[in-house]
Symmetry: C2
Subunit: 173 residues, 2 copies
Amino acid sequence: MEPTRVMIGVNQSSIKGYPYPSISSQRAFEWTLQKIIRDNTSGFKLVFLHVQVPDEDGFNDMDSIYASPEDFKSMKNREKKRGLHLLEYFVNRCHEIGVACEAWIQKGDPQETICHEVKRVQPDFLVVGCRGLGPFQRVFVGTVSEFCVKHAECPVITIKRRAEDTPQDPVDD
Amino acid sequence: MEPTRVMIGVNQSSIKGYPYPSISSQRAFEWTLQKIIRDNTSGFKLVFLHVQVPDEDGFNDMDSIYASPEDFKSMKNREKKRGLHLLEYFVNRCHEIGVACEAWIQKGDPQETICHEVKRVQPDFLVVGCRGLGPFQRVFVGTVSEFCVKHAECPVITIKRRAEDTPQDPVDD
């Protein structure tokens, strides 16, 4: 019997930055371990997807000087490397517990990219964290999870951040 | 470690009636067994909820004569009994497989009642089937699953009916 393949969308903390996972993606991961996988570690395979949003003006590192195409290239590599450190966190946890996993990075719009990867990878289901914002906040922030619930071609389960984990500004992560 | 408590909303087939489960609720149940529970039967407890919609004019059985309050009472009991036969199907399957379960019937509006029961019973997550209708059909049919995703106070996973199981009229079940 093939293991159940669970895709989990993960992103970095908007407060602490890389390599720290956001509270909501960490919560989605821990919830999946506790409530779904439990002690059946051989029955599941986790596939982690991290989508990096390309910076619109290309200046993520304000303290760096970009004088040549090479400099931009090195910046891109640096960003990617930070993404890898984020994934390392999840892969290490899986290794400790003994759950098979895969992890990769894509650049693009998070919601579109997640749905595209679902189509390509065909997981049994997708887990996404969400910040549990009120309707007023949602209008401005937009929610990746709502988009995925509507558009992903597999079942989707949305895990809300716990009240006690919510930072003062609920939009932050 | 407490078992993971999974609530599954189940209803009867709109084509075959009681005691046959709808294609989408049967699919939601089988999916949960295959993809989540797998062979970890002791790690989970299924809680089945069937919501009966009260008939607006009170005449579900056109061939019966209602001459006294007692007749109406017996009708209600008959309805309830049919609901019990529906639940019997799921409880029997669980018993065969060795998964702990509970099942009960409530009267009311399905989406409101499911969300109310989630609040009361506090399952770890809720599984609901859905017919996978297009946006045009959804406007007329309304979808219980969309309402639950938005309003239930626990994570919700929506399982779509498979294409090959879809009857000629996709609104039917």
